[in-house]
Amino acid sequence: MAKPAELSPASPAMEVRTPPKDPGPSKLAGPATWVDERIGLAKLMSNIRKVFPDHWSFLLGEIALYSFVILLLTGVFLTIWFKPSMAEVDYAGSYELLRHVRMSEAFSSTLSISFDIRGGLLVRQIHHWSAMLFVAAMTVHMLRVFFTGAFRKPRELNWLIGVGLLSIGLVEGFAGYSLPDDLLSGTGLRFVDGLIRSIPLIGTWAEFFVFAGEFPGTLVIPRLYMVHILLVPGLLLGLISAHMALLVYHKHTHWPAPGRTNHNIQGYPFFPIYVAKAGGFFFIVFGITILMGALIQINPVWLYGPYNPSQVTAGSQPDWYMGFVEGAIRIIPNWEWHVLGTTWSWNIFLPGVALMGLLFTALAVYPFIEAWITGDKSEHHLLDRPRNAPNRTAFGVAGMAAYGMLWLAGGNDIIATQFQVSLNNVTYFMRVAVFVVPVLAFIVTKRICLSLQRADKDRVLHGSETNIIVRSPDGGYSEAHVPISQGEAYSLTRHPQLDALPPNGEKLGRTRQRLSRWYADGQVPTPTVEEIEAAAHHSDAPALEGSDTAESGVSH
């Protein structure tokens, strides 16, 4: 019995319209129609005007994506000649300083790619630099997402996919590092062999499973090859697709500004703006990677020589992304249990296996822990400026500091030789620094965030400096301030205030209540309307410092 809705006479629905005359498919439209009728191209193309906001930090993930494309392209080239075999051969290629040295076919074919295949060395170097950049770009992208709070509802799942991408990115990089079977590859594999063996109870069995018997065996290179070119790239491709599908589904986040709210998205359309920008950026990433491959030597396997378990070299380090594990292993004291004829190698297990587990677990659960502390169940499409979430920012910087200390410890011998300090002293310093520096970093970062909040509030209330110093008739100096624009004031004040959860509102546990109070504590409240109005009034009649009149005040 509902009353029919009235239509306004001006509604386009009331207009009589005749369908435009079908001119028939043009010559160009022909193929498009053909495709559309079969795979629904038109529907796919409706996403073409998808809007993306513009900010440099939104391009960091693209670096990772483009590096992945470069890795696929150069990787295909390398597979054409690489032989994933540990069969021993007598080297007879063109690099004289390894002539007649016994080596695996994998290493021999890597040498032949480097010295006998046209462009092979360049492609190898591009592939390796690209791998370094791939993981590095994923890392900075993740840091951007973390510090801006872009992982909050509804994007937690995409954050988890990202953590997955980063972790299997490490596996992919490590497998690639191991394939050439040079001295560093083998040393790295031996390192991982130790990690596997250190796992309590199942270590030895797991080692025999991975290496098909004793280290190094003859199967690990073919197995890693499968992992490197099929299993992990497949997983990466799938996860990247899901990552980007969710990006399109959620739409991008954006910075608070006039007109930008939690319910809209402002930016430029994918086509033609972002096609041009992103396409151009792809070529820049490709260009930089090629330049690095052409100009900077990376992984000179011919200098390392073939893997031989009796050899090792000073400066045996993994690629950078495994450096934190290397560092942890280098600085841990020699903790080992010997119980009833069994050995429990905590000195390997804790800094190796447990540390990696800790890092990725912490990354994965962080969004949920923060939501649990704040009790925040709302959707967030506006980004936080890092200063407005001081505890999160401080926690992130503390994590970076801990990672950085482990990272440095991984190069303790290089630090010792290059800066002429004692290797032992570097190690002892790092043992302390890995715990102390993150705490200091947390405190300093939180203070900086709060100071910046105060500076923001000051700017909203008192305007921006004019850079004009005025001298009063009495000789005093002052700098006049001009009010900031409404838009800027909006951007500086629109972030939500962190509130501690109401006491016993939902029968909170004591821990959660305490955490929530601590998390919200200390923030500088955004100025109220009254405060802004009072301040505006105050600055209407700026008085000059040094004048002795009654209405003089300190102009801010």
Partner: protein, 269 residues
């Protein structure tokens, strides 16, 4: 004698006298000082040893003892059986005499001794016992090593040397502030001497373990691997740490700058 007395109050008398006495001291020192370059040349072994003994007493004995017996509390080893090669290596590379007995004897800039003084010191120490002699050129010269020999030298290098000295001789860290020095440009005879005498923490590689021909191969490898062109900037030959550093600084650094540039360029649809 009048000219002496008459001029003694002259203004220039004092400076002239000072100069004269300095000249006299110098002349006397030159006449009596042991083992000058001219006196060591072409003299009999006994004279060389005697000259070396004098040099030793002045420059080395304070730590190593007057008869090279060593002083345990100074950490100075007994030199009875170290041989001439050890003296030649340590003194010629400026490791000895040490500036500070508490730190590692690191190669300095330039030796303070002449060739002949080093020869005399070496002859004296060699006369005390048995030890490797200063090598002839045919013992260390790598110029006759074949290409395959150099490759074999590389294998020996990676087995015996690279653990401390790095895969191409760029050096590495040892415990307690000690370093294995860079050896990319070390003269061949010094490589030979170091192998045979084991300076510092380096083990001795005797002729029974690595014969002279193999030492030549190792030397040939070090020379050739460092002379070979690298595939771009070699980043000091330090391995993956330097590569990671440049991936972040040059790679991610420049890409972020480009990202900032792209994001600020005009976008008017």
């Amino acid at each position: 004698m009048r000219f002496l007395t008459s001029g003694r109050r002259h203004k220039a008398a004092r400076p002239l006298l000072l100069l004269l006495s300095l000249f006299l001291v110098g002349a006397v020192y030159a006449a009596v000082s042991p083992a000058t370059s001219s006196s060591a040349e072409g003299v009999a072994d006994a004279q060389l040893v005697a000259a070396g003994k004098n040099l030793f007493a002045v420059n080395c004995a304070s730590c190593h003892g007057l008869n090279a017996e060593g002083l345990a509390q100074q950490g100075a080893p007994n030199l009875t059986n170290v041989g001439a090669a050890a003296v030649d290596f340590q003194v010629r590379t400026r490791r000895m005499p040490m500036a500070n007995p508490l730190t590692q004897a690191v190669p300095g800039s330039k030796t303070i001794f002449t060739d002949d003084e080093i020869k005399a010191l070496a002859a004296y120490v060699a006369s005390l016992g048995n030890g490797p002699a200063i090598p002839d050129q045919n013992q260390y010269d790598p110029s006759n090593v074949s290409a395959e020999g150099a490759a074999r030298g590389g294998d020996l290098f990676r087995t015996n040397c690279s653990a401390c000295h790095n895969f191409k001789g760029a050096g590495g860290a040892l415990p307690n502030g000690v370093v294995a020095p860079r050896i990319e440009n070390t003269p061949p005879e010094q490589v030979w001497e170091a192998l045979r005498t084991g300076p510092g923490q380096m083990p001795v590689f005797a002729a029974g373990a690595i014969p002279d021909q193999d030492v030549q191969k190792v030397i040939a490898y070090i020379k050739q691997v460092n002379a070979a062109p690298s595939a771009g900037l070699s980043l000091g030959g330090l391995g993956p740490v330097a590569e990671g550093f440049w991936a972040w600084v040059a790679g991610i650094g420049s890409l972020v700058l480009f990202a900032i540039w792209i994001a600020t360029r005009g976008t008017r649809a």
